[in-house]
């Protein structure tokens, strides 16, 4: 009964989404106020139907309704309750439903928070979101129905992939998807602006918070995924340049560019066409990434049940969404009024440089990711592109990006001079140079450069704040006054840039990590990375739906005990799968990381890693997202803020 209601709610949501696509767009075209006014109600209605559908799926999972195929394939009676819930989006069908739910949430958010927008623009944005949503819900209903039934129902389900039975992964997909799908809103704004044929500073101001929210979520989502790979997969790495990881990095890079270029639209009414293209491109990359993973075109460790027939449907959907928006772009972009030219050395010039660098990095990542399937298709060659290519191509672009990141925010708008700005941050530059020199003594060139870039970013962001409040040049009270008067967005940007510096430091630290693989008997001591790792014992322990084999490793340094690590290997009888449960001890300067491997003749394979600064990678990402969040709290950016002034101004389609 409940699954049928869920199925019905899904179909209802699809119908509402279709209405949401047609009615407001027709209304905006005919300037029919009544049709346009239907948009918010339809968006909310679609959200309610999708919440009902999702709740029905969760209910089916929690109550072990094994007449639902999706639950049979991914759940089991013995599965812990949290994972019964998170398992609903850990598979293809459920994740498409989650995708639709978040898209519905975006539409409803524009309906609720966008009350200050001109009614035609709001109707068009909600309409475009409705159209996108309708496509995805149709996809769910026709080829990936999460409520499909099976008869006769089995007594128990097949369980979920034990690797996914992890709190980090329970929340990784919703956050990541929220980031991906969130970029649908800037996309809808871009399409709406193209339909209207008008972009002004206000458009930039409206688009930016949506882009920023999605950017923060995508940052957190990627960081969470990378953290999960680090502690759950037990390979000792945090980023593998796997196609699925790259697929999430691409929209992040263009999304970061979008967040910055929207500022130029807002402040200088320039880069309009480019910003529209970025908004379309970012969402297109989000969609294509999902498509490439689901269709099985990209070779990845992330296994979704690959089905080329599904792939054809998504490809058609992508053709409609991406092709349609780009066609509209080709037709309408030339009519958009271009802003004036500006000096290369200026804030907007620095932002253009940021866009050029970020998009170059993105182009490199796309090339590396897409080269193997294209080489196979066109040349019939089997090639795999791995980390060496990405490291060799991304780093030379990342270093100038880091340099410009610290200087850019200090340049004034319109016209600036580089030297006086650089002179003001001489001490940050000096500190970075000292870090570089100090690191060069004991390290290779690249980690040393990366540490210098990190110091430059963190100190440079700090220097910018010192400069803005004229600390030391004004009396302290006056500086404090200035600090209070600074917009939150300025703090947010500085914090986000410093967060990038923290992440860069973590990445540089991880490039110095060491590891040893040994075959050890209980009682044996291994010397690695300056620590003594003693395998104290090997034991078997029961778990809720698995059996674990646990190694107890006592770690000491210079004879003083440091910590005891207990890595284990879990065997899940139902899934007939074994997972490694990594043991990590962190003091935020370095991680001690131990993995238990296979056992032979009473001896166990141990993998012992020493990972300097590893936690900084994800800490930095959190700081970045926090900076973005702080900017979001800036009054100037709040969506409702311009409402009082602009609510009465009717839209003027060109």
């Amino acid at each position: 009964m409940i699954p049928e209601l869920g199925h019905f709610a899904l179909a209802l949501a699809c119908c509402i989404a279709l209405a949401q696509a047609v009615i407001p767009l027709v209304g905006a075209h005919r300037r029919d106020v009544r049709l346009m006014a239907a948009a918010p109600g339809l968006a909310l209605g679609q959200l309610i139907a999708l919440v009902a559908a999702s709740a029905a799926l969760v209910w089916s999972a929690v109550s072990d309704d094994f007449s639902v195929t999706n639950i049979v394939e991914n759940s089991a009676v013995l599965k812990p309750p949290l994972y019964k819930i998170s398992g609903t989006w850990g598979n293809h069908e459920g994740s498409i439903l989650l995708w639709g739910l978040i898209l519905g949430l975006c539409g409803a958010a524009v309906a609720v928070f966008g009350r200050g927008l001109p009614s035609a623009l709001r109707a068009r944005v909600i309409g475009v979101l409705g159209g996108t949503s309708a496509g995805f819900l149709l996809f769910a209903l026709t080829t990936s129905n999460p409520f499909a039934r099976t008869w006769p129902p089995p007594m128990d389900g097949q369980g979920m992939n034990p690797l996914l039975q992890d709190p980090g992964l329970a929340f990784h997909p919703p956050i990541l998807y929220a980031g991906y799908v969130g970029f649908a809103v800037p996309f809808a704004f871009a399409v709406a602006a193209l339909l209207e044929g008008r972009i002004d500073a206000a458009w930039g101001r409206w688009v930016r918070p949506w882009a920023l929210v999605s950017w923060c979520l995508l940052t957190c989502g990627i960081a969470l995924g990378s953290w999960w790979a680090y502690y759950e997969l037990g390979w000792g790495g945090y980023w593998f340049w796997d196609p699925v990881e790259n697929a999430s990095l691409m929209p992040w890079l263009t999304g970061t560019a979008l967040v910055h270029s929207a500022v130029v639209v807002e402040k200088r009414e320039a880069l309009k066409v480019w910003t529209v293209l970025l908004a379309i491109g970012t969402f297109s990359l989000s969609l294509s990434g999902t498509f490439l993973v689901r269709s099985g075109i990209l070779n990845s460790v992330h296994a979704f049940a690959n089905d080329p027939a599904r792939g054809i449907f998504i490809l058609a959907l992508l053709g409609l969404v991406i092709g349609g928006s780009l066609l509209l772009f080709a037709l309408r972009a030339p009519t958009l009024a271009q802003g004036g030219l500006f000096a290369p050395v200026s804030r907007e010039g620095a932002l253009v440089l940021n866009n050029v660098l970020l998009c170059s990095i993105c182009a490199v990542v796309i090339t590396g990711t897409m080269y193997p399937p294209f080489a196979d298709l066109l040349l019939g060659q089997k090639i795999s592109v791995g980390a060496p290519f990405f490291n060799a191509t991304v780093l030379p672009l990342a270093i100038p990006t880091a340099f410009a990141m610290a200087v850019g925010p200090m340049l004034p708008w319109k016209r600036a001079q580089l030297m006086p700005t650089l002179v003001r941050v001489w001490w940050a530059a000096l500190a970075a140079a000292i870090v570089a020199a100090w690191c060069l003594v004991g390290m290779r060139v690249l980690p040393a450069l990366a540490f210098a870039a990190s110091a430059w970013l963190i100190l440079g962001s700090f220097a910018e704040m010192v400069e803005r409040i004229k600390l030391g040049r004004l009396p302290f009270a006056a500086s404090l006054q200035r600090a209070r008067g600074l917009p939150l967005g300025v703090y947010g940007a500085a914090i986000a840039h410093a967060g990038m510096g923290v992440t860069v430091a973590g990445i540089a630290g991880m490039s110095l990590s060491t590891s040893r693989i040994v075959l050890a008997a209980p009682g044996e001591t291994i010397h690695s990375a300056g620590y003594d790792w003693t395998l104290a014992s090997l034991a078997t322990e029961p778990g809720p739906n698995y059996q674990s084999r646990v190694a107890t490793i006592a770690i000491s340094r210079h004879g003083h005990p440091v910590v005891t690590l207990r890595p284990s290997r879990r065997t899940f009888p139902l899934a007939q799968q074994t997972t490694d449960d990594v043991a990590i001890h962190t003091n935020f300067v370095a991680d001690l990381y131990a993995v238990l491997g296979e056992e032979r003749d009473g001896r166990a394979v141990l993998r012992l890693h020493y990972n300097p600064l590893a936690p900084w990678i994800w800490l930095g990402a959190l700081v970045m997202a926090a900076g973005g969040g702080l900017s979001l709290a800036d009054r100037r950016l709040r969506v409702g803020a311009p409402s009082r002034r602009l609510a009465g101004v009717p839209a003027q389609p060109a």
Partner: protein, 178 residues
């Protein structure tokens, strides 16, 4: 302004042809290239699985000189091998010589598996250590190879046969070699 649309359209066409060829089985992005394709069958000798005779690389090359031979790696413990048994029986009925290699399988189990549906194999070699499979670059059972007239490996299929694969892929290869 048309450039982004052009790029997207080109990518779309490429993706569509990838998916299309994936469905036909002529494009496998996950596939591992086989070094044996285009090369002569290597030397090896496998003991037989009674009542079928075993065979060596030289015997296989000699047999292929008159007409193409299908070499099929299988195992009694492999479920997809059971799925493709019927298709192999059909090919056998059409007169295609099929030589089997029982991969890492106990002789009695392999013999039982072959006898169950009537053996489609003219010869069966027992590859208990799996060494021949390694030399051939077999990634998983079932896996099948077509050996052409001059003893050269012409074509490989990873995974079980189904009627679609036979008509879309195997038949054209056999026609080309005939």
């Amino acid at each position: 302004m048309l450039a982004p649309l052009g790029v997207a359209a080109a990518a779309g066409v490429a993706f569509w042809s990838m998916l299309d060829r994936m469905e036909q089985g002529t494009f496998d992005p996950h596939g591992v290239p086989n070094p044996l394709i285009g090369h002569t069958v290597p030397d090896f000798a496998l003991p037989g699985l009674a009542p079928a005779e075993g065979f060596s690389g030289a015997e296989l090359r000699a047999a292929a000189a008159s007409r193409p031979v299908l070499v099929n790696f299988f195992a009694s413990w492999c479920v997809p091998c059971v799925e493709e048994a019927q298709v192999l029986a059909g090919l056998h009925a059409r007169g295609l010589p099929i030589w089997g290699v029982a991969y890492k399988d106990k002789p009695e189990l392999a013999a039982g598996f072959v006898a169950r549906g009537g053996s489609p194999y003219s010869r069966i070699g027992l590859d208990l250590p799996g060494q021949v499979a390694i030399d051939w670059g077999v990634t998983a059972v079932p896996e099948s190879y077509v050996i052409g007239r001059d003893g050269i490996v012409q074509w490989r299929w990873v995974g079980p046969f189904d009627p679609g694969i036979v008509s879309l892929q195997l038949d054209p290869v056999l026609r080309r070699l005939a």
